[in-house]
């Protein structure tokens, strides 16, 4: 394999893209994927629980919130796995602390995704390896070999006179015979692909119709970059506003609709490209089991994670359900974290080329990876 090819296939045999979606604010896993057969759930939430009749049944025990029903076909296709009672070891119940520690992967310098990209791209990070959709590069990408906020395709150009400058650069880099020459050729090639994209109107595949909210357009951009094969290895996207202390339904319902619609369209649009793509949905913590007086829930512990993508042995809710009895609940009455988020991410990172570097990505933690891939 020559150096140029090495760049194109950023991570060994085939390029894979990891999409990390962070639900900021602490999303209520119990009302997204409800434990329909646990009476404790209905006792604790007499007014806001998802009723058995309205829920979308998954496996006889759990049911999806009806607003997430767009995810049902993906689940039934076996491409979506759900992990319940998931979260981190942090028990401060502080948004800032919990997000910070989760994105860093513990009390560690740098973000877990940043460390992963450093560890697995020995010598190969492409210029467009990692993008963040939003205003800033999130902490999880801190320390990545190349990470950029993606605002528009125009960022990836050399300005108005691009054509002449590129031709001149192609001449000079074309004369170089070493790795620098190859890197120059690869970069020019990436620029040409972006240039081509810019001139086209994007038509999602399979009749996928994304919404107009920023989450949907973010996913559309990611799908577009993945399909253009410009070397995208990681993308991050936030869906904010899950802090449902009161009027939970008004807070969460539109977000769940956006989440499910967005992911379903992304799934449809990517088609075969999903094989080399993984989407992870995570949140900093779940919410108190018991509803509060304002039809809401307060900061809790365990929540839910979603994993969608190639190779996933989906159609399952993974992890042992701990139950909601008093002896099980943690602190003020919270679903305990049975599945540490690292154990969900670990097998995914292995698939994405982490090799033997997982201990660098998640130091000071004894990994016990969940069988996401069966």
């Amino acid at each position: 394999m020559n150096s140029a090819q090495h760049f194109v296939s950023g991570n060994r045999d085939e390029r894979r893209t990891l999409v990390v979606i962070f639900l900021r604010g602490g999303a209520d896993g119990l009302n997204m994927v409800a434990p329909l057969q646990d009476d404790g759930y209905y006792r604790a939430r007499p007014r806001i629980a998802i009723s058995k009749s309205k829920a979308v049944p998954l496996d006889g025990f759990y049911g999806l919130n009806p607003l997430l029903q767009d995810l049902e076909p993906v689940y039934k296709d076996g491409q979506l796995a759900i992990i319940h009672a998931a979260g981190s070891e942090d028990d401060t119940r502080s948004h800032f602390e919990a997000q910070d520690l989760m994105e860093h992967g513990g009390l560690v310098g740098g973000g877990w995704l940043g460390r992963f990209l450093r560890a697995q791209t020995q010598g190969t990070a492409g210029p467009l390896a990692a993008v963040a959709l939003g205003k800033a590069v999130p902490e999880c990408l801190r320390g990545a070999p190349a990470a950029t906020v993606f605002q528009s395709l125009d960022d990836f150009s050399l300005g108005k006179e691009q054509g002449r400058l590129m031709r001149a650069l192609a001449g000079l880099y074309g004369r170089e015979t070493d790795a620098l020459g190859a890197a120059g050729q690869y970069t020019l090639d990436a620029l040409r692909r972006v240039e081509k994209l810019r001139g086209e109107i994007y038509h999602p595949s399979a009749g996928a119709e994304y919404g107009t909210d920023s989450f949907a357009t973010g996913l559309l951009q990611i799908a577009r970059l993945i399909k253009a094969r410009i070397g995208l290895e990681a993308a991050s996207l936030d869906l904010n506003g899950w802090d449902s202390h009161f009027g939970q339904s008004t807070v969460m319902d539109p977000l769940m609709t956006r989440l499910a619609k967005g992911l379903a369209m992304f799934y449809k649009d990517l088609g075969p490209a999903l094989e080399t793509t993984t989407v992870v949905v995570m949140t900093e913590f779940g919410r108190r089991v018991e509803e509060n007086s304002a039809f809401g829930t307060d900061h809790g512990r365990g929540s839910v994670m979603f994993v969608m993508g190639g190779g996933v042995k989906g159609g399952r809710v993974l992890g042992k359900w701990p139950g909601l009895t008093r002896d099980v609940l943690e602190g003020p009455g919270d679903l305990p974290v049975v599945n540490n988020y690292r154990n969900v991410l670990a097998p995914i990172l292995t698939r994405h080329g982490a090799g033997d570097k997982l201990d660098q990505v998640f130091p000071q933690f004894e990994l016990n990876p969940l069988p996401i891939y069966g």
Partner: protein, 518 residues
């Protein structure tokens, strides 16, 4: 020190009066203020050779590249009064001139550095005492650290010193995003790295071991053993041997790591949220958390301290084990070899030549880690002089050298830092303790952002950064002079053609393969 704003204004008002007085009699504030506008360069000459000559070579490696006029200033150092004016210098003379420059750079304290000092003084948080740092938002501290680092690399006359600061920042890397490092890294940068960058390695190693930021970053603060059932935290001990001293294949065992960790139990740092605020960041040794049993580190015995000893003795003996361990590690032959290898990789080649490494390691060992003597030995190797243009600039060097070469007036704004972030090389953003990689390969994916930066800089598209392209070209004596100045040699026929055909000559040269090398 901070420049209080009021005295600064006063100084400005009286500047006109003082301008006629001798420079050394002026108050420092006035000198700094004057330094601001005193740096207009006149016409300058560029390298005449077709390859990198010794003068350009030292500017590339011992500095962040040439500024307009640097080449000819160094050239003058090699001229003798007997030389005919305008006569071409022999290769030996060029080398002598370059060596004279290195000799100057090896004594940074003798170089006046008003412009860089003035620029750095604007970042006021950096001179705050440890305890005061906690009054600031971490984001502000991090931004000021990054900006000051870039400003100094661009402006400082003490270029080799700044190069070494970067070298040791990588060697003793701390990512400030962990815990209290958000505040403490500012003090570490100042009191560990910058303080000892050209001093004694042993002093820097000790300062680093007791740096509050390092105690946080590598968990030294929680390394304790109140009773035998408690397991010491090995994080710092391992990195001390693997990264800071002996090197990964330096001949230590897992047992050594554990024994070093035991020696260092009991050291800790007061953290935020615990105890009185004024004590945050304070480093202390708590004998109650120390393991007083006998140990053996790299073959050397450290005796047990019996419980019959007085409290005071235990305090003293226990804390002294840190000094013992550091000395054992520091004097281990592998440490000289490891530091020498890293220095040679930095200054000579990604694959450090063994002969050079041996010579540098010898100097390190013989001088007990005198950094200047070690560098002198490195600059005396033929491997150093024969390696011109063979290295690939890391992104930080690329950006700093572009700003220097174009004589950019810059406030090192976050817009420039943002480019460094995109290239994955912003100062103090590397997550793991091994520091940013030195070799070329991990940086090959950064060309797109380098080209983008070249375009933005040459079109004056960066807020807070300004260049005067036409004036620069004029002072360089035209296009060819400009190209030779930027490339450190005469441009090739292809480069000249590309310069014209690109429609953006300056950007093209900054983006070209030649400018990526050093």
């Amino acid at each position: 020190m901070n420049l209080p704003r009021r005295s600064f204004l006063k100084a400005g008002a009286s500047m006109a009066l003082l301008a006629t007085a001798g420079c050394d009699r002026m108050p420092r504030e006035v000198r700094l203020l004057m330094a601001l506008n005193s740096k207009e360069t006149g016409p300058f000459s560029s390298p005449a050779g077709s390859t990198i000559d010794p003068i350009t070579h030292v500017l590339n490696r011992a500095a962040f590249g040439p500024r307009p006029g640097d080449y000819q200033r160094i050239l003058a150092l090699g001229k003798k009064s007997s030389d005919k004016p305008g006569a071409e210098m022999s290769p030996a003379q060029l080398r002598e001139a370059a060596e004279a420059y290195l000799a100057q750079q090896l004594q940074p304290e003798k170089l006046q550095d008003d412009q860089a000092e003035y620029a750095a003084a604007r970042f006021e948080t950096l001179s705050e005492p440890l305890g005061e740092l906690f009054e600031y938002q971490p984001e502000l501290l991090q931004n000021e650290l990054m900006r000051a680092t870039l400003a100094r690399a661009v402006l400082s006359e003490r270029q080799l010193y700044e190069v070494m600061v970067q070298f040791w920042s990588d060697h003793f890397n701390i990512d400030p995003s962990k815990g209290d490092c958000k505040w403490l890294k500012v003090a570490d940068d100042r009191d560990v790295i910058r303080k000892h960058a050209m001093g004694q390695f042993a002093d820097m190693l000790r300062a680093s071991a007791l740096s509050p930021a390092m105690l946080w970053y590598l968990d030294g603060r929680v390394n304790q053993r109140e009773n035998m059932s408690e397991k010491p935290n090995e994080n710092y001990a391992r990195e001390l041997l693997e990264l800071h001293t002996l090197g990964v294949h330096g001949g230590y065992t897992q047992k050594d790591v554990m024994e070093v960790a035991r020696c260092l139990t009991g050291w800790t740092v007061r953290s935020t949220g615990k105890g009185p605020r004024f004590q945050i960041g304070k480093v202390e040794f708590n004998p109650a958390h120390h393991d007083f049993g006998a140990k053996e580190v790299l073959g050397q015995r450290i005796q047990a301290t019996p419980e019959t000893n007085s409290k005071q003795e235990r305090q003293q003996l226990g804390s002294h084990e840190l000094e013992r361990v550091l000395r054992i590690a520091m004097r281990h032959p592998s440490t000289a070899q490891h530091i020498a290898t890293k220095l040679c990789r930095h200054f000579i080649s990604d694959t450090p030549p063994p002969t050079a490494v041996t010579a540098v390691a010898k100097a390190f060992a013989e001088t007990d880690g005198d950094i200047r003597a070690t560098l002198r030995a490195l600059f005396a190797t033929e491997d150093f002089w024969g390696s011109g243009g063979a290295k690939f600039k890391r992104p930080f060097t690329f950006v700093a050298s572009a700003l220097r070469a174009t004589d950019a007036k810059t406030d090192a704004s976050l817009e420039v830092i943002d480019f460094l972030k995109r290239m994955g090389h912003a100062p103090f953003n590397y997550p793991t303790p091994d520091g940013y990689p030195e070799q070329a390969a991990p940086w090959m994916g950064t060309l797109l952002w380098r080209w983008n930066f070249a375009v933005a800089l040459s079109q004056n598209g960066l807020k807070g950064t300004r260049i005067k392209m036409e004036a620069l070209q004029k002072k360089a004596g035209g296009e060819e002079g400009l190209m030779a100045h930027l490339l450190g040699r005469q441009a090739t026929a292809e480069e000249k053609t590309a310069f014209h055909e690109s429609g953006a000559g300056l950007a093209l040269i900054l983006a070209s393969p030649g400018f990526q090398r050093c």
